[in-house]
């Protein structure tokens, strides 16, 4: 059981564009890693399918998303609220991926932010990538499958 790139992108579009009003554009062939401080939301799926969903973007874009969710100016959003907002984005994307895969359980999200970091989920491999441009920066959602 897997999720195609188009299915993953459709989920991302439903969350970021249809619900949060932020358009995204496919990013094909370009570097899907943004520059500058980054932030990653991670959520784990289990029960019939084991794996993880990572939502990666620049902190600038996450702050803009949070500003929309909180209905505040981007500069006024607290750092903790930016992380909360991205966690909820990961939750919504992860929940819909879970439904596509027929899995039964979804973890609570975790969020990591910083200038240089890598989120590594031991024992997993990259299954599907949705890379896109969001508010001028590259972003991506990764679907990792557990190899256990």
């Amino acid at each position: 059981m897997t999720v195609s790139e188009q299915e993953l992108t459709d989920v991302v579009t439903a969350v970021l564009t249809d619900m949060l009003g932020v358009p995204i554009m496919p990013l094909i062939g370009a570097d899907s890693n943004g520059t500058g401080p980054q932030i990653t939301g991670c959520i784990h799926v289990s029960g019939g399918w084991e794996g993880s969903v990572l939502v990666e973007m620049t902190q600038r874009v996450a702050r803009e998303l949070a500003a929309g969710m909180f209905d505040e100016a981007a500069a006024d959003v607290a750092d903790a609220d930016v992380m909360d907002a991205l966690g909820e984005v990961a939750n919504m994307i992860g929940g819909n991926v879970k439904a596509l895969l027929g899995a039964t359980s979804l973890s609570l999200p975790s969020v990591t932010s910083g200038d240089r970091f890598v989120v590594h989920v031991p024992g997993s491999r990259l299954e599907t990538t949705s890379a896109f441009e969001c508010l001028g920066d590259p972003a991506r959602v990764l679907l990792l499958t557990s190899q256990a």
Binding site: V15, F70, D71, D81, D84, G87, N91, G95, A99
Partner: protein
């Protein structure tokens, strides 16, 4: 109308509150928030029952289903609905069987939110 919004995400509570304020026929709105099921139970005990509980499902310290079951076990018939990323049919059936009025899947559009809430209020 007094509504208790329960979600571990502050951002999602804000979105739900904004959408509630736009629901036609809701009248004067008073929204209280709780960040998980245990907090929601404590809030209801302190402040009395609301007219409606709108709850997430996946939360630490008592999830939404556990909250609904706890309320019903206490004899509460408070109207209760889910706004959740748990979108599978089996979860929906489970929620309705436990006494939920509605299950709205995340992500949702403002129109879908308002149409559903207008129909149940």
């Amino acid at each position: 109308m007094k509504i208790l919004v329960v979600d571990d995400s502050k951002a999602m509570r804000m979105i739900v509150k904004r959408n509630l304020a736009q629901v036609q026929g809701i009248g004067t709105l008073e929204v209280t928030e709780a960040e998980n099921g245990a907090h929601a139970l404590a809030t209801i005990e302190e402040q009395g029952e609301p007219d409606l509980v709108v709850s997430d499902w996946n939360m630490p310290d008592m999830n939404g289903l556990e909250l609904l079951q706890a309320l019903r076990a206490q004899g509460s018939a408070v109207p209760f609905g889910f706004v959740t990323s748990e979108s599978q049919a089996s979860m929906r059936e489970h929620a309705i069987a436990a006494g939920a009025l509605f299950v709205l899947s995340k992500p949702f559009t403002a129109d879908a939110f308002q149409e559903l809430l207008s129909s149940v209020l």
